[in-house]
Amino acid sequence: MKKSGPGRVKNNGHKSAALAVQLPKCPTGIQGLDEITGGGLPRGRPTLVCGSAGCGKTLLAAEFLMRGAVQFDEPGVLMAFEETEAELKANVASLGFNLDRLVRRKKIVIDYVHIERSEVQESGEYDLEGLFVRLGHAIDSIGAKRVVLDTLEVLFASLPNEAILRNELRRLFRWLKNKGVTAVITAERGRESLTRHGLEEYVSDCVILLDHRVSDQIATRHLRVVKYRGALHGTNEFPFLIGEEGISVQPITSLSLNHQVSNERIATGVPRLDAMLGGRGFFRGSSILLTGTAGTGKTIISSNFAQAAARRGERVLFFSFEESPNQIMRNMHSIGLRLEPLVKRGLLRFHSARPSLCGLEMHLATMFKEIATFKPHVVIVDPITSLMDLGTVSEGKGMVTRLIDFLKAGQVTSLFTSLTQGGHALQQSEGGMSSLMDAWLLLQDFEGNGERNRVLYVLKARGMKHSNQVREFLISDHGIDVVDAYIGASGVLTGSARMAQNSLEKAAVLAGQQEAARLKREVERKRMAIERQISGLRADYESESAELRRIADQVGISTRMLTTERTASGILRQADTKVAAGPRVRAGRNGRGY
């Protein structure tokens, strides 16, 4: 018992110190059960596991024993009243346990107790000391710390004297406690009591009830800790599964919100979308919801995201609940996304299953297993709504919570697509899930002008600046592109309306350009006209000034000629007019402007 002390504290390292002073606990090793019970079953005390036929009592008990032997080095004794050793070995082999080897290595002792009422005659008083001896011998032979009695109630059918039997059972449980072994006793569920023969009155420390219910043709097993004396425990009913690796209980309420967070951002594969998300995409490890009605391009955006991540060298796990991997790859090829090489390189893995294949819990367990083995950086679930439809709203939400918590604990970025039915307000229909998501992209159809166009906007993105704009998003042979949508008086303009608006603007620009060109030409023309006028005037002036010069010259010449003539005639007349004529000639020359 002392040996187990530190182990238990380690298991609950994140819990408050108050738990440390509680009852010592014995870890079962069963996935989830230790979380619900806060560390395991009460150590050194008997625990009753009851339930109706086929709900997994024996498996739970056997797994408790085998995990004890394998993981916690606590040998165990299995006293079977119903199944023989060979049957038990075959049963647990399906859980991946080699019971035979454990028996050979003296980690487990199986004692098959067979008692046939028709072969036993009672004569006088007796007690069940023989059972004690057998059990005691088995415990001592391997130093067992754990004991399973499956199913003790068979004794009620085999032994005729119930009074003796009850007395002996009471003694048995006390004896087990004195032995200090942690015991699991299985019992059939009674009609009005927990067990058919009221075994619960002997076991007061811990009672676990198993249940197998069918709703909507899908069977789900549930586990509930009815009683756990002296310890806090989850009181809810928890769904559990019997899978290839044993029982796994998936606790919802034991999840705590203390994940590590990353500041790293990862691109979405659509540059414009990254720009809308503060320019750098989503946070690593965040959960992203992508909602939209049918045909809005959810799978395309998811595939783009997957491709972008895989190209960065990250592992991507794509859960598809609507399409087969080949179909997705073919369809994505049509828009220029080549996923096959990524699949071949082992960076992208698809997991396709019909939602109706099995219950919600089974799907979840399969997903957990896939995630645990593939260790992806990015998980895509397309669409999460098909899964959620399998259960009630609260079950669905519980499932998503568990999935997100599981992924966040491993800093796995998750992208969930959600198919919204037409006619619902988008924001309302996802109310159950949206609060769990860190980022929410909304894809929407816009109908008008006889066409349907896709728009995209960021409804929320925790912890980052993000665009408030509605963008149109286009799918072409070359992938997807996000473009600005026009916001007009009548709302958002997309598709041809956007194109029309585009043309209108183009026309306006063209008209402006044309007007400017016309004005320019006009100015040029005016300038030309003025220049022509100027040159005309200059020509006039030139001709006039030439005329003037000619006239002046003529005047000069005629004056000289006159003078010459006068001189000549004066000479002829011998007149003395030379002095008077000189200044007149000189004055005429000066007037021509030297």
């Binding site: 107790v113 009672e122 004569s123 006088g124 008083e125 007690d127 023989g130 059972l131 001896v133």
Partner: protein
């Protein structure tokens, strides 16, 4: 019960020739165990004189033997021979039941 009776009748002629092998499982020297041994001895002397052998097994000393004969209750008498095997539990104080249990009622 009819089939049992039929078997008894069929087996009856051969029975006297057989040796009865009885095993009495006890725990140490409890009063119940001692009473059982006394009762069995008396019974055999009465009904099977000369053709019985009783082996007393003390489970405190040989606990590993409890598994072989599927012993739960103490005391237990197991009729190893003649076949088929018979088991009677208790301190054997009820002789009538012991007769039925050991298939001896027909012999009386």
């Amino acid at each position: 019960m009819k089939t049992k009776a039929a078997k008894r009748r069929a087996a009856a002629p051969r029975r006297p020739a057989k040796l009865w092998q009885l095993r009495l499982y006890v725990m140490d020297q409890t009063s119940k165990s001692e009473a059982a041994f006394t009762n069995l001895k008396t019974f055999c002397e009465t009904h099977l004189k000369g053709r019985y052998r009783i082996k007393v097994i003390d489970l405190v000393k040989q606990p590993h033997l409890a598994k072989g004969d599927q012993i739960l209750a103490i005391p237990t008498v197991v009729r190893r021979l003649p076949q088929p095997m018979r088991t009677i539990i208790g301190n054997l104080s009820d002789t009538a039941r012991l007769l039925v249990g050991l298939d001896l009622r027909a012999a009386n």
